[in-house]
Amino acid sequence: MLFPTFDFLLFALPVLVGFWALSGRPVARVAFLTAASYFFYMAGPKTDPPPAPWYFAGLLLVSTTLDFICGQKIHALSQRAKAAGKSDPVAALANRGRNRWLMLSMVGNLGLLGYFKYTNFLIQAFSDVAASMNIFVPALHLDVVLPLGISFYTFQSLSYTLDIWRGKLEPETSFARFALFVAFFPQLVAGPIVRASEFLPQLRRGPSFSRDNFESGAFRIVRGLAKKVVLGDWVASQLSDVIFDAPGTFTSAELLLALYGYTLQIYADFSGYSDIAIGLGLMLGFKLPENFDRPYQSLDIAEYWRRWHITLSSWLRDYLFFQVLAKFGARAGYFAVWLTMFLVGMWHGASWNFVIYANIHAAAMVFNRWNRTRQNKNKKLKKKGKHKPLPLRLVYWSVGTAVGFALGAGLVHTFLHLPWPQAAGLAGFGTIVLLGVCALPIKGGKLVVFAHIFLTFHLIVLSRIFFRAPDLDTARAFVEGLVALNTEHLIRPGLVSIWVYAALVGGLVLHFTPKRWVDETLMKLFRRTPGVLLGLAFVALCYGLMLLLQGAPRAFIYFQF
């Protein structure tokens, strides 16, 4: 079910009222909310593509049951190992046992995710690689439909067994409560990814109702709806979709405009959804984690991933990055960064586009880490009066630049199929930008801060080509159009209305304003407004959104993940 639909309004009102009425009865409220969550998952309106087939609910239940049992077993074996003592063979046996149960949970969850999400891509990728070596391997295509929200609930559910295995969480004794944790409808299909250690205690304690929570929740819902529909859906239908569908027919300026539009759209769409999810959670008496923190204000790519889809990047940081470091030590740092970021990218989709997207961000993170380390090291050396001799530094930089340029041109030519002159031009541009970033101090005045934000923002914008393009051919056509730098006409009259420009500029400007303008000032205004007026304003907003979308809202972009 999509949030900005009549179906959801028809669903949410009675569910909220029903849950409030049952708030004093722990068993009934959990059962009610779990049933409502499964109903939400399955009872979508008629859209294109059509909503969930019946077996989706089965998969959700399988994942839930698997992890509930695995959690119990892991905990029981952990207790046995602890009781037996370290050198006791019983402890060793118990530890092996709990590892096997964890493996079962991981294979089960990641196996489901891998099968539904990556199988066809892996088959195709194998065929493509073989074809590049002139070996013809027919690519089978399995008729597989990606279950809604599988990337979210598998990670969420896996955090439960992982935390129990690490001894940071007690297993949940109530299956119904655990099922609710996995299926909680506000965040089931598009996050935020909620950790068991954050949410299960809330479910056990029961909902926390307060006027502050209700009003904050309602505010978040209204804010999210406006963001998602106006800056997300509408900008998409008026600008980004039109251009991304057939990039070969647009000029470089129009393609760049579409990229800016999509950058705003995806933020508004996803953060808007998260706002609605968090708001609903508050109105149900539960606190969900924040997922966005004005990410385009980031000074570098590392900060960006601390502000964008926070729950995903922190999940992979805690359960993968730190584990790789713990196992292999600091020397594996670059590898850990690359691997984690690569998986963040690949989590979003299974196609060559996402392989490129993932590698762009992974490479950017590795570069960022290297640059920071280098600058910090140089600062220390400078203080001590030690520095490599200038000629040696010049040689290092020249060789590094030449190698980077050659590698960049080669990659662009090979994977994006740009002719050598354009590939070299693009690689040259990239090399100059990277040299500029190296020259830019990490900390500085307003100009330095602006430069950092500007460069980081545009790295994000350009990487969106591979995120949004439906396939690699379209991405290639997009890049080709962008580097063509055709200037016969910049943006054709009538392509974009003045309202779309206003939404684009307004949305991006608002993003760079201080948070308190919205979070505090607007919130205060919301709370001071009488309830009847709020209701009328909400009704007017809904009607306006209905007209804007012609009654057919888009699914959230992250629904497809």
Binding site: D7, R25, M42, A43, D48, D241, V337, A555
Partner: protein, 541 residues
């Protein structure tokens, strides 16, 4: 992402003992009960929303504000009405599934090979008074057909099928020709090429057919022809209405040069049978006409004089031994020359399918042709069938469908009058989609236009192929766009290369299905004369 120097756990990690206590205390703590006053201003706001909802559904004057009407699917469709679809919905789903299956078959199969060089059956001479042998089905003749070719009286394609039967029986010189006009839907020769490939593999290769002297636009591309030009021809395209004499040649474009313009044509070695035995230059003779120089395989120059007292259509035919040959055509000066294009054929038996895309044309643009000129062109081509695929550009016009149908009728009559011996076939436009939010829906005009064209076909004695339904009907533009590989381009109105193959296959199957029925009916009626000439139909006034 935290740096290496800050390897700290940031999860909400607390000591297991603290967690144990909190986990145990939850069930023993008295739950917080909800109280209405906690809602604050949210309570009245929700009440207003609820009252508004009730009001729009109960007050008739507020009907336009209803977020749901009885025309919309039931709320919670996926659990309420989806499990219980109506018969019409079930039938539509089954049809879509059947179309998808054909598309899967086409896409899974290797690219159709070029037609064989030699006919499948030995070539025989037709003896007057004898009958063709009884029909023997080809290997794909019984392929599943989900959208049939509509023959209102059952006899709209009799002459075409009779000619096809002779080609099928491998009668010497039995060439069956179709001229296929259309808008950009058949641009890049995509759909005609897919049909041509299948028809020639089934009935024999009689050559590529007509090719313009130079590209009419950037999408003019006949992949089966190895074509070059030096960019010096000055073209006048029928949609520009730039020739008051209405002489645009079969391909809708006339080319002029006072000297130096040059083009060369050859069958593509890999993408066609690579053979040609008859090269036909289509040109106009006119007062002060100049000279055209022709060479075959860079051999002896042939000079064609285009001087004449009045404007008249002429054709210069060159016969060569069946094989790979290149024709070079050059404006040789001594006046202005005016040319249309070249047709490349083989002696037969087989099929020729001319792809004549008029990109950007409205249907009525065909009326720009001068009647005498059109008759001369079609007479020379000896076309057995004319196929029309128009409507895509007409969708943006704000006209009534009855007006559009009248225009189409006029076009059909204009063309059929030029050659009454020809059968005709109207091929409906492809589905055209538009975005509504995330959905890609069919434009409402498409179904109306299909109906209008169907009525024209019926009234004018033409066969009709409903391409829109063949693609899957309502929503097929969106479905085809979402398929991997895509069958529909990003403008939701033009098929991709793969889409052309699928449409070509759907059309071919429907055509051959009717051909088989015709042959079976005729065989039981006494058979088809080996040298028969069916009575030409009179075009409707």
């Amino acid at each position: 992402m935290a740096t290496l120097t800050a390897v700290t756990e940031t999860t909400a990690a607390k000591s297991p003992q603290g967690l144990d206590q909190r986990n145990r205390e939850a069930d023993s703590t008295a739950p917080e009960r909800f109280q209405w006053q906690m809602l604050g201003s949210v309570g009245p706001a929700m009440a207003v929303v609820f009252v508004s909802l009730v009001a729009v559904f109960t007050v008739p004057q507020l009907a336009e504000y209803r977020p749901w009407t009885s025309d919309d699917p039931l709320p919670f469709w996926n659990v309420l009405s989806r499990p219980f679809p109506s018969e019409a919905a079930t039938a539509a789903q089954a049809h879509v599934a059947a179309v998808d299956k054909v598309a899967d078959e086409v896409l899974a199969a290797p690219d159709p090979p070029p037609p064989p060089v030699e006919p499948a059956k030995p070539v025989v001479e037709a003896e007057v008074g004898t009958k063709l042998p009884p029909f023997a089905a080809g290997p794909d003749d019984s392929a599943d057909v989900k959208t049939e070719l509509e023959l209102p009286t059952g006899h709209e394609l009799d002459r075409f099928f009779t000619s096809l039967a002779r080609s099928d029986a491998s009668i010497a010189g039995a060439v069956t020709r179709a001229v296929h006009w259309g808008d950009s839907a058949i641009g890049v020769d995509g759909i005609p090429s897919a049909i041509r490939r299948r028809m020639q593999n089934r009935f024999g290769d009689a050559g590529h057919g007509f090719h313009l002297m130079a590209p009419a636009n950037t999408s003019y591309r006949h992949r089966e022809v190895d074509f070059q030009h030096n960019g010096k021809w000055h073209g006048c395209f029928i949609i520009q209405k730039c020739r008051s004499d209405g002489h645009y040649g079969l391909g809708g474009m006339t080319f002029r040069s006072v000297g130096g313009a040059q083009s060369s044509f050859a069958p593509h070695e890999k993408r066609s049978s690579g053979r040609v035995s008859k090269l036909d230059l289509h040109y106009a003779a006119q007062p002060n006409g100049g000279q055209i120089r022709i060479r075959v395989d860079e051999g002896e120059k042939i000079i064609v004089d285009t001087e004449a007292d009045t404007l008249e259509d002429r054709f210069h035919s060159i016969e060569v031994p069946d094989g790979l040959h290149e024709l070079e055509v050059r404006a040789a000066g001594s006046g202005r020359v005016r040319v249309y294009g070249v047709s490349m054929e083989r002696d037969g038996p087989g099929v020729v399918w001319d792809g004549l895309a008029l990109v950007g044309a409205f249907t009525r643009r065909m009326l720009e042709y001068d009647a005498t000129h059109l008759a001369a062109q079609l007479e020379h081509r000896q076309a057995d069938l004319v196929v029309f695929t128009f409507g895509g550009n007409d969708m943006v016009r704000k006209i009534k469908m009855s007006t559009y149908a009248d225009e189409y009728r006029e076009v059909v009559q204009h063309v059929r009058k030029a050659r009454p011996e020809m059968d005709c076939l109207i091929m409906a436009p492809l589905d055209h989609g538009e975005r509504q939010g995330q959905r890609i829906v069919s434009r409402p005009v498409v179904a109306k236009m299909v109906e209008a064209q169907r009525s024209v076909a019926k009234s004018e004695g033409c066969a009709f192929f409903d391409t829109y339904t063949a693609m899957g009907g309502d929503g097929s533009a969106g479905r085809w766009f979402r398929r991997k590989p895509r069958l529909m381009g990003g403008d939701f109105g033009h098929a991709t290369g793969k889409g052309h193959q699928v449409i070509g296959e759907l059309f071919f199957r429907a055509l051959v299905h009717r051909y088989v029925e015709f042959r079976q009916a005729r065989d039981s009626d006494g058979g088809i004369d080996a040298a028969a000439n069916p009575t030409p139909a009179q075009p409707k006034e």
